[in-house]
Symmetry: C2
Subunit: 305 residues, 2 copies
């Protein structure tokens, strides 16, 4: 099976308490692909400026990612710089330069239109609609968004929800979108507007899946140190959809296991700057950590006791 991933390609400059990185690979499509491609076939669509070091994406090509959907436009690539606070949970955005991303108008190559799964990275909901207009009956459409679109494109976003099977948002976004304080109510609100499944990402506190009437909770994989949180959510989405694309999606049990893959890919992403934690990662290292996560969350009922 294969995934069509549409999102941003960025040059990130990041300062964390552990160091800094300057104009390194970033963006939702990059983090997503770097994670998902270890597990499954990925077709990626996006735009870069003529300053983008496409050669640094060759490791994705080596993994079989189809990069022919990346358009190069004259001008500067999307760039973003931010500084994380000492608790790593909050950050200040220093500068966002849209560059060629401003005129992004996703064109899905003919050969990608029948991808089994679609990941709509965090871009303008108007563009997310355009992507869906071009694809043919995917098994599952997953979508990410952010506070900016919830504020500025609320109507388009809510109309989009009706075309989405799985919405991935963080806890703040879920609250902002729904107007509900509790995550249970927030998810119900979202589910009523389309997505059968809602994944609420909580950073170092893990993630929760609401599907139909069932709830599944997975912790973040505990790390001695989260080096750079940038891209963790996209790597999570990549692990989740990557596993589903690899193994199929027959029941909610597959989705729960996929949540564990999401958590694990997120954990590898934050261990290094940029996509470095994903660049040489192997499937066996992922499986090892998924198994450890299972041990870490299992308890016996001892009903006889």
């Amino acid at each position: 099976m294969s995934i069509l991933a549409v999102g941003s390609f960025a040059l990130d400059s990041v300062v964390t308490p552990f160091g800094k990185a300057d104009r390194v690979l970033g963006g939702s499509a990059v983090f997503f692909s770097a994670a998902a491609s270890i597990l499954t076939e990925v077709n990626v669509v996006g735009v870069v400026g003529d300053d983008f070091p496409l050669e640094n994406l060759s490791f994705l090509k080596d993994r079989g990612v189809n990069l022919t959907g990346i358009e190069t436009e004259e001008g500067e690539s999307f760039s973003w710089s931010a500084s994380y606070h000492s608790d790593m949970n909050t950050r200040d955005t220093i500068e966002t330069k849209l560059g060629v991303f401003e005129g992004f108008d996703p064109k899905i190559p003919e050969q990608f239109r029948q991808s089994d799964y679609v990941f709509l990275g965090n871009i303008d909901p108007v563009l997310q609609h355009k992507v869906l207009d071009q694809v043919t009956a995917p098994s599952l459409v997953a979508c990410d968004t952010m506070n900016h679109w919830i504020e500025s494109e609320r109507e388009e976003l809510i109309r989009l929800l009706n075309r989405v099977d799985l919405l991935l948002v963080n806890d703040e976004e879920a609250r902002q979108l729904s107007g509900e304080t509790g995550l249970v109510d927030a998810s119900r609100w979202i589910q009523k507007r389309g997505p059968r499944m809602v994944v609420i990402k909580k950073g170092e506190h893990g993630a929760v899946l609401f599907s139909d009437d069932s709830i599944f909770s997975v912790p973040a994989f505990p790390l001695p140190c989260a080096f750079d949180p940038t891209g963790a959510g996209d790597a999570f989405a990549g692990g989740l959809l990557g596993h589903i694309s690899e193994q199929g999606f027959a029941s909610v049990a597959d989705l729960r296991r996929a949540m564990a893959f999401g958590s694990v890919l997120g954990s590898f992403a934050v261990q290094e700057f940029s996509i470095e934690g994903l660049r040489t990662l192997s499937k066996s290292e992922i499986l090892e950590r998924v198994r450890a996560l299972k041990v870490m969350t299992t308890f016996d009922m001892n009903e006889e006791g």
Copy 2:
């Protein structure tokens, strides 16, 4: 088996986004006992003023809690008032009046001195030492503390750690006590100073157990609405130790299951003001929710797939 619980008896005045409660039952010993007594025998020690409505604790007596260790002193009971912010994760303390609690000098009745388990509620570490000086070889000593003691009685607290098997703290307290940012490092720091086991409580994000080299993570039971977070941590400790006292503590598997009981008792505590969520709670309701928590955290590896 039985637990000796030493802590505060308070009259709490609380404002939350959902309403307010005035001079209602509170305090670490009260929340702990209200939770643990559904599962096991509890002997409680503390001090109240002559204004304390002891008759409101009769439900504990009905459950077999031994209340003879509660001393009544002339004067006002410990009282505390606070207002929770809309996210319920933060609160402003409006007033703390120590009253008779200021002169608290715990005297452990002869009949309590051989209790199997000891819970040192959040009081001055100097007093926590005094409690341990009076007990005879308990199987397990569990201890709670708070930022106030970490700042003002650091030396006594660190000396106390060496006498404690299980430390329960929240994430902020773990960071403050250890000076470490990451919870893995913070727990290692604490474990080096005595406690074999460290439970880090994260409120709505659940709790993590560090024991020897193993980590176990349990989510908070998802509720549509957390009505009043006061006492959740003490109810968590009551559920955890209550289960251990009821079932025994043979291996880390028992402790993991006990963490689930802790999470569940915490969830019942926050569903109503004061101890109302625990007052008429039955063991079968607890078990039902523990089983639901197990379903909510279980995923299959599908290694064949």
